[in-house]
């Protein structure tokens, strides 16, 4: 599975697709593989503020609950409501099944995130031990 090169990646396994001031957020393919079958997603409402590094929601597989951490800060402008009904879309296409769109507060935050190549290296090490 390839990691899109126009995305930035958090070590907590979320991706961001920047587009001017707007940013789209989801979880990575590595994340969905580690979780297994995803059966529940809890996301914030449009208008909520999320803060980089803080939990903005959760994703649950049959076995486990995992917090979602905001890779960047901003105001939620759109939520992918389809995931409430079909959380398995994340398993099918993690990089297509976006969770939130944000009005990003501080584009500088993107710089602290990993590039596709660095993220791939990072998960290869994490998965290897």
């Amino acid at each position: 599975m390839s990691y899109p090169s126009d995305f930035r990646y958090a070590k907590s396994h979320e991706w961001v697709k920047p587009d001017g001031k707007s940013a789209t957020i989801g979880i990575t393919n590595y994340a969905q593989e580690s979780l297994g079958d995803i059966v529940f997603v809890d996301l914030p409402k449009v208008g909520s503020e999320i803060t980089a590094g803080k939990s903005f929601g959760s994703v649950e597989s049959v076995k486990a609950v995992s917090d979602l951490y905001a890779p960047v800060s901003g105001t939620v402008t759109a939520v992918n409501d389809e995931l409430a009904k079909s959380p398995e879309n994340i398993n099918k296409d993690a990089h297509g099944a976006w969770m939130l769109k944000l009005d990003a507060k501080n584009p500088e935050e993107l710089k602290s995130l990993l590039s596709a190549a660095d993220y791939e290296k990072f998960v290869a090490e994490e998965g290897g031990h």
Binding site: L35, G36, F40, E60, V62, L68
Partner: protein, 380 residues
């Protein structure tokens, strides 16, 4: 997303460990055992669960333990240490039962198989193997019977689901149609003679558990032959993840969750497996008193009404937000496609239809008390 669990090298392994790894199973620590939780390449938990409900699934359950009691007073010994009435067992019959502490709480739940005139086999849980064996040995000293820990002698494979009988029949000369649920026989399986075949399981489905020699080569041979023969029935290898959701849908208790050393038989709702009228057994006096005193909490089934999954340990609240109990097991139910849970609540909240709340990440999420088991297999 937060980190994923990994396993430590000190864990115990079953004889099929290498086979699971070869199949790409995700391995986890289960009560000190490194066990497959799911086989992502074969389908994952949801597919595994539904294979057992609609077809057949294969589980390595060799982490379960086995204790044999044999001798002129084996029955007296079994009667003394377990709550069900083993005197009712014909040779070749099995029963669900439990070992109790003098307080009427659980040492473990067990399946008691009567293998011969004076021979009984107790199948016990992985996490309680050593504790159970010591308990049985220490509490049967006054009886003329030999107590042996056979836990390491067997690889135990469970073949579960409506097609389990068709699959296993391909590999054995035993007439499986003649074995009723909770009966046991022995026969040739995959060319191995005198293999114990029990029509038992932990999935709320029809199925079998077979006990084969624990060496790696034999274990792998049998496992692979079962999977090979299972292809035409859509058999999947299944891990502990599916085992847990299957048993939850069927309201089968799990030690450390619905039953434990602080929960008694009445609270757990296992009355029908506890025969107070039989001869004395450890725990019966305390249970008499507990019955007279009345229940302080009782096990109920919950179905989430609002969005959310109740998980083990979450608080159960009343409408006013007061704590009235806790969740013992909770999950998305893959076959029923609902979010369900088992919980201990105060008896006044246990009526079917009662509305309660489960505290999920600080929020009270509405749930309803529903009839259990959540899933009952269709009668043939």
């Amino acid at each position: 997303m937060s980190a994923v669990e990994t396993t430590s090298p000190t864990l115990r392994k079953t004889a099929l460990n290498a086979v699971h790894r070869q199949m790409g199973a995700k391995m986890v620590d289960f009560n000190g055992w490194e066990m497959p939780v799911e086989y992502p390449s074969a389908g994952g938990i949801l597919a595994e669960h539904n294979a057992v409900r609609t077809g057949v699934g294969i589980f390595d359950v060799s982490h379960m333990g086995d204790i044999r009691l044999q001798g002129p007073q084996a029955l007296n010994a079994v009667q003394h240490i377990s709550m069900n009435d083993a005197a009712r067992l014909a040779i070749g019959q099995a029963q669900y039962s439990a070992l109790l502490y003098p307080q009427g709480t659980f040492v473990d739940d067990v399946i008691v198989h009567r293998l011969g005139d004076d021979e009984y086999l107790l199948v016990i849980n992985a996490g309680t193997r050593e504790k159970d064996f010591s308990w049985v040995r220490d509490n049967t000293r006054e009886f003329d019977c030999k107590v042996e820990n056979l836990s390491d002698d067997f690889t135990q494979i469970a073949i579960q689901g409506p097609r389990a009988v068709d699959l296993l029949q391909r590999l054995t000369n035993a007439n499986l149609a003649a074995i009723k649920f909770y009966w046991v026989t022995s026969g040739t399986v995959c060319g191995l003679k005198e293999i114990l075949i029990a029509r038992t399981g932990y999935t709320a489905e029809d199925g079998f558990e077979i006990y084969i020699p624990a060496d790696e080569q034999t274990s792998a041979m049998v496992w692979n032959k079962i999977l090979e023969a299972g292809k035409e029935f859509g058999a999947l290898p299944c891990g502990l993840g599916a085992r847990n959701t299957l048993r939850l849908e069927g309201k089968l208790p799990l030690y450390g969750h619905e039953i434990s050393d602080t929960i008694n038989v009445w609270e757990a709702g296992l009355d029908r497996f506890c025969k107070m009228e039989k001869s004395e057994f450890i725990g019966c006096e305390a249970l008499e008193k507990a019955k007279a005193a009345g229940l302080k909490r009782t096990l109920v089934g919950l179905e989430m009404v609002e969005r959310g999954i109740a998980r083990d340990g979450y608080k159960v609240l009343d409408d006013g937000g007061r704590e009235i109990g806790y969740v013992t097991s909770g999950s998305y139910a893959p076959f029923l496609k609902k979010n369900i849970a088992l919980a201990y609540v105060r008896p006044e909240f246990s009526n079917i239809g009662s509305t309660v709340k489960v505290e999920i990440r600080g929020q009270g999420v509405k749930a309803q008390v529903v009839p259990t088991p959540f899933y009952k297999r269709p009668k043939k």
